[in-house]
C-alpha cells in the first residue's frame, strides 16, 4: 500500500524470559505510568541495544539507559527493580552519552548476582516512553528471547 508504513521492530535487550509489563513488581512500571513496553527476566548479564539509537542518558548509577531511535521513539531500559539504590555496583556501561549505537550492540555488562545478593529483582522493564507517537505496538508472544536478536516488540508509526 502506498501510504502504509512498514512495521518496525525492537530487539530483546537481554537473554531471558519475556514477561508482560503488568507482571513487574513495581507499580511505576506495571501501571504503565512510565510508558508501554515489556520486561525480561535476564539469564545473562549483557544488555543489548534494541534498535539503531542515540544514547540520550545513562544514570550515574549505570542501571538505567535512555535512548532515542532514529525514527523518534524514546526508550528506557531499567536494569533491575529499585537498583538505583545500588549506586552503580555491578553495572559496567559499555557506551557513553551521545553515542550512536547499532541494534544488537552491547550497552552494558551487568553482574546479575550482585543484584540478587542485594536482595533485589533483576527483571528489566523495557519501555517506550512516548507511546503516543505509535499507531500500533505489539509485544511478542514468545516466552523467551535472545538478547540483540529476538524481536520483542513490533510497532508502526
Amino acid at each position: 500500500m502506498l501510504f502504509s508504513k512498514k512495521k518496525s521492530v525492537l530487539l530483546a535487550v537481554a537473554d531471558g524470559e519475556v514477561l508482560p509489563l503488568s507482571q513487574v513488581e513495581d507499580e511505576a512500571f506495571s501501571s504503565g505510568m512510565l510508558g508501554k513496553g515489556i520486561a525480561i527476566k535476564p539469564s545473562s548479564g549483557s544488555i543489548y541495544s534494541p534498535a539503531d539509537v542515540t544514547v540520550v542518558g545513562i544514570a550515574e548509577s549505570g542501571h538505567a539507559y535512555t535512548l532515542e531511535s532514529a525514527d523518534g521513539l524514546e526508550l528506557l531500559i531499567h536494569i533491575g527493580i529499585d537498583t538505583v539504590g545500588l549506586g552503580g555496583k555491578g553495572f559496567l556501561p559499555m557506551v557513553g552519552e551521545g553515542d550512536t549505537v547499532k541494534a544488537g550492540e552491547v550497552l552494558c555488562r551487568v553482574d546479575l548476582q550482585a543484584i540478587r545478593d542485594a536482595g533485589l529483582s533483576t527483571v528489566i522493564p523495557f519501555l517506550i516512553t512516548n507511546p503516543e507517537i505509535t499507531k500500533e505496538l505489539k509485544p511478542t508472544q514468545a516466552a523467551s528471547a535472545i538478547g540483540g536478536q529476538s524481536v520483542i516488540l513490533e510497532y508502526r508509526l
Binding site: L34, V56, G57, A59, E60, A64, V84, G85, E97, T129
Partner: protein, 94 residues
C-alpha cells in the same frame, strides 16, 4: 513566563519514578516546560530528557514555563515538588 527553583528531594535524584511523575504532569499542559540543572537543559514533558539531567538529591532544578496555561502548570508542578518527604516516591515525590 513563570520561573522558579526547587531542590531535588528524592534521595536517589531524578531517576525513573520521579521523572515519570513530573513528565506526566507537565504533559497535561500546553505550555512549554523547561528544566535546567547545572549545565543541562531538559524538556519536562519528555521522560528521557528529564532523566538525562542526571539531577542528584539536593541539586537545584530551575523551571521556566511559557504558554497560555503557564500559571496552572506552575502551580501544579510546585504542588508536586512540594509533596513532603514522608511520602513514598511512587506517590509522585520528586
Amino acid at each position: 513566563m513563570k520561573q522558579f527553583q526547587c531542590p531535588v528531594r528524592d534521595e536517589n535524584g531524578m531517576h525513573a519514578r520521579p521523572a515519570g511523575a513530573l513528565s506526566n504532569l507537565a504533559k497535561q499542559f500546553s505550555s512549554e516546560v523547561r528544566v535546567r540543572c547545572g549545565q543541562r537543559d531538559a524538556n519536562a514533558k519528555r521522560l528521557i530528557s528529564l532523566m538525562s539531567l542526571g539531577a542528584k538529591a539536593g541539586e537545584v532544578l530551575e523551571f521556566e514555563i511559557v504558554g497560555e496555561d503557564e500559571e496552572a502548570a506552575s502551580d501544579a508542578i510546585l504542588k508536586l515538588l512540594a509533596q513532603n518527604d514522608g511520602e513514598r516516591a511512587s506517590e509522585g515525590r520528586v
